[in-house]
Symmetry: none
Subunit: 222 residues, 4 copies
């Protein structure tokens, strides 16, 4: 689970009172509740501990600080993303984009996600935690979607694995980046109309790029 805080002394724990498993759950839930009410910058660990009915020491024993706690609290939100088969690549993309936008409409995600990304620009360990808990975890959706499109014959198999990986990363950057920008920066709703327009550009671009895999870039745009 993405929310597992720290394995230190929790695994081998032989002697003494064992750690309360309920505390973890309560703390993460309290963190999300505090994010909703206060946002990231006014969220304090003392307040989270109080909401969770837990002492501050208990919290600090499990998470090194506010950033890591918020990453874990937010990561759980993205685990509910899924990719139901809607019959076509475009429809699949539209579906997952709408789900993603729905999560980003929730205040606990809005507040927390960008803040930890901002913090991660100066904290490599935090960036790794975000990548492991959120980004890489959801990249499965891209891979699954492509596999499904290939099975349908909508896309041809990539010529080599390196290109395939690069393309998957690119798609993820485009999809996640565009949706986040639409929702948080432009602050406009990522509604059906916008999602259709976006998907049309993306799917069209992928087809064009895949077709021009030989390097004659730009030709398809003429």
């Amino acid at each position: 689970m993405s929310g597992t805080p720290s394995s230190t002394s929790a695994v081998a724990g032989r002697a003494g009172r064992p750690r309360s498993a309920a505390a973890d759950t309560a703390i993460l839930a309290a963190t999300r509740a505090a994010l909703v009410e206060l946002g990231w910058s006014r969220l304090t660990l003392g307040d989270v501990a109080t909401r969770a009915g837990v002492a501050k020491t208990t919290l600090y024993r499990r998470w090194p600080g506010k950033n890591e706690l918020v990453v874990d609290a937010v990561a759980e939100l993205f685990d509910e993303l899924s990719l139901p088969d809607r019959g076509s690549l475009a429809a699949d993309i539209e579906g997952v984009v709408l789900q993603f936008a729905a999560i980003l409409a929730r205040p606990e995600a809005r507040s927390g996600l960008m803040a930890v990304v901002a913090e991660s620009t100066r904290d490599d360990a935090l960036r790794e935690r975000i990548r492991a808990s959120i980004v890489d975890r959801q990249k499965r959706l891209v891979l699954e979607g492509r596999a499904r499109a290939e099975a349908r014959g909508e896309l041809s198999s990539p010529s080599d694995p390196t290109t395939a990986a690069r393309t998957a990363d690119l798609i993820f950057d485009v999809v996640a980046g565009a949706v986040v920008h639409r929702c948080l920066v432009s602050a406009e709703p990522a509604d059906g109309e916008w999602v259709r327009g976006f998907t049309r550009v993306l799917v069209g671009g992928l087809a064009a790029a895949t077709a021009g895999d030989d390097g004659t870039r730009g030709a398809s745009a003429g």
Copy 2:
């Protein structure tokens, strides 16, 4: 100028000592220096004031808080973006995306930009300030690029103004979002190779979407 902090009583200012213009410049420069050294979360206004050789009150007289100050300090960074004519739409896009990526590689932009976006999710006034100082300000690049592409005959003129505006917003979301996600979340370099791949998808997608302007979505992606 994007850095003009507050117009209150500074314009009509007849009576009393006028505000020092040098202070504004020094404060914004000090803010960027502090962002480089400390990042957003460890940046303090007291420290910025000290660096700028200015009293804290002088700073608070001009900006209501850390967020607004950082927005203004970062906004100036993006004013150096330009769109030199490189001969084709794809080349123009690649050029501006590389410039954008270069700015996002600078620590004062990395630290500050995402943090204020995060804060803006709970502060409408701040979001408006970001939009006015950064987002809308740079949207000129999209409009200019499209006009140039139309002049070259690479793109057809949009059928109606509303569609044109929607498309421009979409392009901005995709470009800005993807580059930001690549640089800050994926934390991979937006180098020439990545930019070429991204541009191929975008230009191809635009062509396909423009072609299918009649609403038969997905057709061009089949």
Copy 3:
């Protein structure tokens, strides 16, 4: 007048706009009003200036600081003390003590007086200002009272001037000190009963001390 603030450049002033005499009056009145409302420690010179309808610079041009301003504002209060002839030394003392107590019951005196005395323990110039504006100024009451008592035959003339001066100082310390302590420290009313008791001790003590002027101290107390 005790409230004349500073003679610097006000006397010889040939050229230039002369200082407003109304400002002095307004400032001292505003100071007393602020003492009543806020007390010494919360009184600020900016507020006094505002109340007086005067700029801060105007105030600082006349007084070096809060302490000196308050001394002058309070000193005026004590100028209303007088020593009407009530027929006997005891009655005269009772009269002036009651007047003194009445002034100390007014909040502008209570707040200001002890505060500047406290400050004067670390500021010799301030102590001199207090002595000149308040203490020595009111010592006239002691001298006048003794002269009257001698005229009545209640007290014998002092054997030599030095002893006379010492006794006058002692009386002033005892009277002023006791009344201040009663009113401000004990915070009990210096009403008729208390004043009668105090006067009886003082007059009795003076008679005994004068009688035993030969140095056989303690004899009269046996």
Copy 4:
């Protein structure tokens, strides 16, 4: 002890870390040191905390503000007053007055005492604190001195308790007031000569007043 700052939650405190007893001592000593160096008005709680090697929060947890802290710091100084038996009422009084004057010669007492008295004119709680910690605490000296004088036959027992209490208060006002006025306002030394003169007046006055207890006031002064 007079220096006990706040009993809140410190007594019953079962749970949680107990308050450091050493901190109290260090803070009061640091306060006196700061009074000596800086005086009351330039004393800051931040500086006191630094001197005491303690965080500001620790200080504010124990005392509500500067006034209360100074009262407690000064109160300890007066606990060293004592009334050794010198054989006669006059000698006893001279002894304690000299001790009192010696304390008032110390800068930590000079600065602090009058300042808190000044503040107490606008703060009833502070006045009560002063009365409890300093005034009433030292009134024992008056009572003890009178008892001793009665035992010696120097004074007759008071006719009723109310009169006795009133007289004790009056003596305290006269003694404390006169010495304070001599030391702080007149700023002259309360040396042996002054003390002898003062004592002669006081003892003589007491004898006269006690003799005329029947109400024929003023008779003894004629």
